[in-house]
Amino acid sequence: MILALLYPIGYMIYASFLDWSPSQRIGQAEFIGIRNYINLLGDAAFRESFWVTIRFAAIVVTLEMIVGVGLAMLLDRNIRGMVLLRTVFILPMMIAPIVVGLMWRYMFHPTVGIFNRMLKSFGFEGIPWLADSTWAFIAIVIADVWQWTPFIFILALAATQSLPRSALEAAEIDGANEWQKIVMIKLPLMMPVLIVTLMLRLIDVFKVLEVILVLTNGGPGLSTEILALRIFRTAQEFQELGEAAAMSNMLLMMLMVLTIGMFVYNRVKEAHVAQRRAVIEKDND
């Protein structure tokens, strides 16, 4: 098990120390130490790509959390047709990313895309969705939010529905309005689920590839070239397997930091609970 887990990672770490092109077998590649990493850090394009990734991840995950949790709060009631509505909400998650990319590329099309056609019918100018670097970034954000908000929505909705009903009724009698109920009761009680959701989403967002590949292929310029895409292109187009591996490792390390962060958070909380237990037991004696 552990071997199966570690072998690819070890392989990749080893590869990141090589000057390796796809025509060579791995044994023939030249060992160049940490030169790949030094090259990367000195590479303005890589640093730019790194920041694009961070910016993309932060914006996208924030938006998805707000919209997903917000929708869950709004739709957490028994209205007729709710089951259908919920099913519709899950659909985006079920579509293959490549298809999502193609679909949005069509919708963002400058002349026949639905957005610009709509804008024009209202008398506005069309927007150069995929041709302008700012708009292109906004476009990939929209596509990703569209595809992944449902994931958060579903988890948040499940969390709202397992909230203790009577505690919410008690809050109502105690004088809380809808907003106060959400802020003071619902969100705090949902927090453990929301934190796990956030972590899962964060880990995932660093790996989006297909949608952006199809939508903008990283352009214009480097404006939408997130790390995963750059790794893919470094390996495919520039045939620099060693450098791609080094980049992968940097990405992996970033994810590790996140995962460890989550782990530490859990540990600290557990320790906190254990400490309270101990205090209470002492009280009871």
């Binding site: 505690a167 008690a170 009698i173 309005n177 106060q180 003071m184 237990r277």
Partner: protein
């Protein structure tokens, strides 16, 4: 605090009517208990008063104000839930101060109030614990404290003791009775336990099947039950019921049946004779039957002991009266044998008669 009035209150779930026009008036500062078997609509009534269920028909008045369209928070109520409904993520102090914090009362006032209530309920040591770190009894107190801390005009309790074990329930019942002396507020208390109802209530409302069967003081209901349901529901061990006939035997009016024949006292006799049907149900509480070997025939019944349940100073005997079953109480030291036939004097003033069709009390 204002009095509460229910006017023709009806509740329907879809086509299914569970409350059929409840009319009730509760005086100021009265402790009213809704009691009845499970499923009779007590909780539904309480939740309608609280504003947690919509009113299908009729109106609820608090003071002179119709409130059925108001939100719960506009009704000035505090409620203790059956499952306590504490806020799991807040400690005891935060739980108790929740309503006050929402009202943006000054910090000092809140702390004082919480301190006072915690003191009264013996929760001072636990103010910083979360509900998950408390025992059932302590959680129950916190639920009580949360209601008390906020100075509402009316308190609603939905079976607050039903999740406690028997011993704790007894203890909390006594504490509630003491608390009740100190806090002069409207209280409406729902329970299926007739002992809780009898010990706590100023006024008891007995419900069954979505109807009010009878209301009044515990004593009124115990002594003058309006029908067989109320008679059988209140009191423990419960009242005995025997099929009987009213017979006028030369000046003396007897209520008689399989294995017994008891003369009615004069004032009961005329009413019983005035009743149209001669077939009735005789109700007699175990406490109104006294072991008395030499009682005269027309004031006694003879019972054959089948089972004796020893419960301390008193034993409860299950006996045969003809083919019918009847329960009596007896001092445990009385030497008796199973199968023996004993004579019990009937407290004839305490005889209850019910129509055998409608089960309504006669007289």
């Amino acid at each position: 605090m204002p009095r509460i009035r229910l006017e023709n209150l009806v509740k329907r779930y879809g086509d299914f009517e569970v409350l059929h026009g409840i009319n009730l008036e509760m005086e100021e500062n009265e402790f009213t208990v809704f009691v009845g078997p499970s499923g009779c609509g007590k909780t539904t009534t309480l939740r309608m008063i609280a504003g947690l269920e919509t009113v299908s028909d009729g109106e609820i008045y608090i003071g002179d104000r119709p409130v059925s369209q108001l939100e719960p928070k506009a009704r000035d109520l505090a409620m203790v839930f059956q499952d306590y409904a504490l806020y799991p993520h807040m400690n005891v102090a935060k739980n108790m101060s929740f309503a006050l914090r929402l009202q943006r009362r000054p910090r000092k006032e809140i702390d004082e109030k919480v301190g006072l209530v915690a003191e009264m309920l013996g929760l001072t040591k636990f103010l910083h614990r979360k509900p998950g770190e408390l025992s059932g009894g302590q959680r129950q107190r916190v639920a009580m404290g949360r209601a008390l801390a906020r100075d509402a005009g009316t308190f609603l309790f939905d079976e607050p003791l039903s999740n406690l074990d028997a011993k704790l329930r007894c203890q909390m019942r006594a504490e509630l009775a003491i608390m009740r002396q100190k806090v002069r507020k409207n209280m409406i208390y729902v329970t299926h336990d007739q002992i809780e109802a009898m010990t706590l209530g100023d006024r008891i409302v007995v419900m069954n099947g979505g109807y009010i069967q009878q209301q009044g003081t515990p004593e009124e209901l115990f002594k003058q039950p309006a029908n067989k349901f109320v008679a059988g529901f209140l009191g423990s061990p419960p009242m005995n019921f025997l099929g009987a006939k009213i017979q006028d035997l030369g000046g003396q009016v007897f209520v008689s049946g399989d294995g017994f024949e008891v003369a009615l006292p004069e004032e009961r006799a005329s009413v019983a004779l005035g009743h149209s049907a001669s077939s009735v149900i005789l109700g007699i509480r175990p406490s109104d039957l006294h072991f008395s070997p030499h009682a005269p025939d027309h004031e006694a019944i003879d019972l054959k002991v089948i089972v004796s349940e020893y419960i301390g100073a008193q034993s409860v005997l299950l006996c045969n009266c003809g083919a019918q079953k009847i329960e009596v109480e007896l001092k445990s030291e009385t030497p008796i044998a199973l199968g023996e036939t004993l004579r019990f004097a009937v407290n004839r003033e305490a005889i209850h008669l019910f129509d055998s069709e409608t089960e309504v009390a006669i007289g």
